[in-house]
Symmetry: C2
Subunit: 375 residues, 2 copies
């Protein structure tokens, strides 16, 4: 039983707090009373209203705890992480901040802090899996296909998400960085569509997005890609919007007012893409790691298909992201993972036994990776 | 040789002025010097800069002429037409104003004016053709399929036009009014897509738009439709934009600024849909009039396929619209059509010989309708 502070009581933050509270003493902080209210009636969880953009507030909140879970929005994630490390507290972060976390390596070392970043499902579990195999075989290629989608497919978009449209659009704009033939290359997003069949939902369409993040720099593997999946047809419309200028970040004048088209687009899509509180959705992920293992050419495949949990009302997005992070929390608390410094999840995977423990932890919660090995 | 004033020196106005100047004394007026400049070097045409939103300017311009051709933008067309009728001048109008022209019937009668409105290609020639057959047979159905498109098909829109995107979007929003089983019904625009093959350009996609205008009220025919044609795929994107709210005329707040999504959309598409000055485009139209003629069930079909004229630099849009109007001008000047009052083009068609003369006039200019009759 440890004292843990969860920063951020959004959908994933709440799911993690409830999970950790089964065993630990958990405090959750958020500026939104709305978010905190949803944790009422969970007697094991202490809620604290706090403005987490202020370093002093964070440091006051966490001063007595053993570990911090960072689930604030991405734009404030780096500063929050820095504030936690300054206090010498171990941290597991799923804020997915855009800055380079490795810049905090020096600080984390000085403070003796174990800081795991990007520790969700993707990025997150893909990194752990690749880190695991990379330590014991000569990996030649890594592929990660991932998507979070509603079961209900409403045209024209066939898409809904529990987060802001602007974050999704960002993925559709930002060029994808891949490794091909040992070179980092850059390809426009939404390109190279391919159809893939899944037993649970039929055919999905995968396409290029920029998702490799730390793997681009920590791994020395000839070929690495990550692709996002949507229902077929979705990206045609997104390409149209992009080609039509609707994703443009340059201000244009419209009837005398300066406006960025992307801001209007995001505003319009807030309603259209809003995932209902209890709307069934799923997470699908397929990871393939191929290479030479003990003289044999092998491919390891990990398949995840996880659904919204009707009983708890917890979305699959929150389950798969949140339990990846809480499984890493256990590793840190138990001393199974103890590298001081900033750790992207592939570092955890490289430690013998860690992947297995994370998978077992998640399996207990119904998040199940099916593993197959082929020659 | 008559004195004619053409109001508006846009693309169609200029084409009509040049056509009429072969035989008549033509004055063209416009507020845009840019537009008027393009008529320099045509010694038979007098150009006059004038603000045509002012009635006094119009009436001064036209006081000595025999006939006026109205080619101002639609939003000012009704007032211009009224000003011309007040002066007792005959008029052929292709401004396609949204108001109900028949409200000027009383004024036109008082002033003894022959006023032909909506006299382009569509509306225009379709009405003339239907009026013609309706006078001599029992018409059971009327179909008009029409499109103006660039030869060059660039994704995602595969569309360009010499007029403002907002006018096109209007067609995609406004519900289509049709006659089915003698009832006027209303159907959303962009619906009931059908593929049609054309020898010159392959497959096009026709869909519902509101184009019957006066025919809804002047004709007593059980079934009447008009459909617009685009390259296949175009309307899927347009439906997506409509469903996504991008055509909405309701203001929304975007980063503190109130804005109508349609205004931003139209602004973005101005560049994307801009037809280049010398960019080859075509007009395609297929009209079918079916019914009982002399005891037989027959269908008359009119096929038009007209191209941009490289030699003169006159677009097909201007040729087909403009020469429809100038062929009606000849009928009025020659006394072939002399009904005092407001005449939609179907009234002209009903007068024996008029359709034939209009077709012959246009044929001389290379705008050729292929006519077939089937049992």
């Amino acid at each position: 039983m440890a004292k843990i502070v969860v920063l951020g009581a959004g959908m994933v933050g709440r799911a993690m707090a409830m999970d950790l509270a089964h065993k630990h003493q958990v405090t959750v902080a958020d500026i939104s009373e709305e978010n905190l209210k949803r944790l009422l009636g969970k007697p094991d969880i202490i809620t604290r209203k706090a403005d987490l953009s202020k370093k002093a507030n964070i440091q006051e909140l966490i001063k007595d705890c053993e570990l911090v879970v960072n689930a604030v929005p991405g734009f404030m994630g780096y500063k929050t992480t820095e504030a936690v490390i300054e206090m010498g507290k171990n941290i597991v972060d799923i804020s997915f901040f855009p800055e380079n976390g490795l810049e905090l390596e020096q600080l984390a070392k000085e403070k003796g802090v174990i800081a795991v970043i990007d520790c969700g499902v993707a990025p997150g579990m893909g990194n752990v899996i690749l880190g695991h195999h990379n330590a014991v075989m000569e990996v030649e290629s890594y592929e990660c296909y991932v998507g979070g989608l509603p079961f209900c497919r409403t045209l024209p978009f066939q898409y809904k998400a529990p987060f802001s449209p602007i974050d999704v659009i960002e993925e559709y704009i930002r060029p994808a960085r891949y490794v091909r033939n040992k070179q980092i290359i850059t390809i426009p997003a939404l390109t190279e569509p391919e159809l893939m069949d899944f037993a649970e939902v039929g055919t999905l369409q995968a396409f290029n997005t920029d998702g490799l993040r730390s793997l681009l720099f920590t791994m020395d593997i000839p070929d690495m890609i990550e692709k996002t999946m949507r229902y077929p047809g979705h990206i045609d419309y997104m390409k149209m919007l992009r080609a039509g200028g609707f994703f443009s970040e340059e201000e244009i004048e419209v009837k005398g007012k300066l406006i960025k088209p992307i801001d209007l687009t995001a505003q319009l899509l807030i309603d259209k893409w809003k995932l209902g509180e209890t709307e069934p959705e799923f997470t699908v992920m397929r990871i393939k790691v191929c290479g030479m293992e003990q003289g044999e050419k092998v491919c390891w495949q990990y398949d995840l298909f996880d659904r919204y949990d009707k009983v708890t009302g917890i979305s699959s997005m929150a389950r798969t992201t949140g339990y990846s992070a809480t499984s890493a929390v256990e590793l840190v608390l138990n001393g199974d993972y103890n590298r001081v410094g900033i750790s992207p999840p592939e570092f955890i995977g490289a430690v013998p036994g860690c992947l297995e423990k994370m998978l077992a932890y998640q399996k207990e919660r119904g998040v199940i990776y099916h593993i197959s090995r082929s020659l």
